[in-house]
């Protein structure tokens, strides 16, 4: 059956919500397995100590991106029916900067704080209360923010539109860039460490020393 199912009216409301729950279930489970229920692992990238965040994010995006193109080519998914992702470049850049600051200060993002709270982290629960408060603040200030919120409107522009390359060409370039990024990360990971009491990559197991690839020397 060719997708997306919901857009073509092939999913009842009950199925839609139930499958949303199932998608979230898988999402949460895999986030936990990635180590993303741990604030120290998540923020490790900003101290060049743990690179799980860029590794996991880039590989997830590239797998889904290649998958979308492949399903589209095989006529299993009508890419024209996918939800539009409009670009408002200024609020997205400003929001991204602020979000990065909130990330390293708070330790989580909205999805990972849900995982962390469900695995017993009180700080994640407090972070979630902060999220709701921040959203409330935005809503209260919205009238004053509205013009900025709609600024830099570039429409539903993709990297392919922007570069003038075919989508497969963009994928190829992004794979090359990801390869370069992973190579660079590998160099940083293998560099000799000077500071004493260094964590090494946090593996999530207490027997990291006897296990494989734990504390680095």
């Amino acid at each position: 059956m060719s997708g997306p199912l919901e857009v073509q009216g092939l999913l009842s409301e009950a199925w839609r919500l139930a499958l949303g729950f199932v998608a979230g279930l898988l999402f949460g489970f895999f986030l936990e397995r990635a180590g993303f229920g741990s604030a120290r692992k998540l923020t490790g990238v900003f101290y060049l100590k743990d690179f799980a965040v860029p590794k996991v994010m880039l590989s997830a995006i590239l797998v889904a991106m290649v998958g979308l193109l492949a399903l589209g080519r095989a006529s299993l998914l009508d890419l024209d029916l996918l939800a539009a992702m409009p670009t408002y470049i200024w609020p997205q850049l400003a929001g991204g900067l602020l979000l990065g600051i909130g990330f390293v200060v708070g330790g989580y993002c909205p999805g990972t704080s849900a995982v962390a709270a469900a695995s017993g982290k009180w700080d994640a629960l407090v972070f979630m209360a902060g999220l709701v408060t921040g959203i409330f603040g935005f809503a209260e200030l919205f009238d004053r923010l509205e013009s900025f919120y709609f600024s830099g409107d570039l429409g539903d522009v993709t990297l392919a539109d922007w570069t003038g390359l075919p989508p497969a060409g963009v994928v190829f370039l992004l794979l090359l860039m990801a390869g370069a990024a992973f190579w660079l990360i590998g160099r940083i990971e293998r560099r000799p460490r000077k500071d004493e009491g260094d964590l090494g990559e946090y593996t999530g197991r207490s027997d990291a020393v006897l296990g494989t690839g734990g504390a680095q020397s």
Binding site: G3, P4, A18, L19, A23, G24, L26, G28, F29, F30, E32, R33, A34, A39, R40, T43, V45, K49, K55, A60, V63, A64, L76, L82, T87, Q92, L93, A94, G95, G96, L97, L99, G100, I101, F103, V104, G107, C109, P110, A114, V115, S119, A124, M128, A129, L131, G134, F136, G137, A139, Y149, L159, G197, L199, G204, S206, D207, L210, G211, A215
Partner: protein
Amino acid sequence: MDLSSYTLEVAHEWDQGTLDNGGEMGMELKPNRRSSRAYWAPFVAGGALGLTLLLTFYLTGHGLGASGAYTGATAALLEAVAPGSAQNNSYLSSYITPGRSPLYSWIVFEVLGVMVGGFLGAVTAGRLKRQIERGPSIGRGSRLTLAFAGGLVMGFATRLARGCTSGQALSGGAAMALGSWAFMLAVFAGGFLAAPFVRREWQ
């Protein structure tokens, strides 16, 4: 002696670095009952997340999200405290459907799934543990204050950027949206800029 069923426990969970100095500080061998499973290799977890995202696109035509559920919760909370207040708000009114709770939405069900999935993941890996996660040189009160402050900034930021690491970075990134990739670069820039100021919180 077969060590495979034993765990080398370090006095401080985060202090594995002491092992580099000869490994004498506060360690003991304990039976392996309490040890937690290792995380998956990043590319394995990333691949699994990518396939989950692809499945979501196939089913619904859109990707995964998270911050939208918190926005629904904010609207529901406001309506409960002061009926009509979210309805009359120029931003939150789009989250209100008459005769229906803002919580009755796809993304809220999805994030409930994330919590259950995260819980199951933590339980099956032996990582379910009540704790306040923080670095060795910060107190609980300071950590909780910073957790709230970070959440506050991020909550605001997700609305400005029209999504978070899930909806913008992962989903928009996979759909090749230009704004999502710009957003992602800005997130890392913001994180690296602020990191030196809160180093004590984590390291």
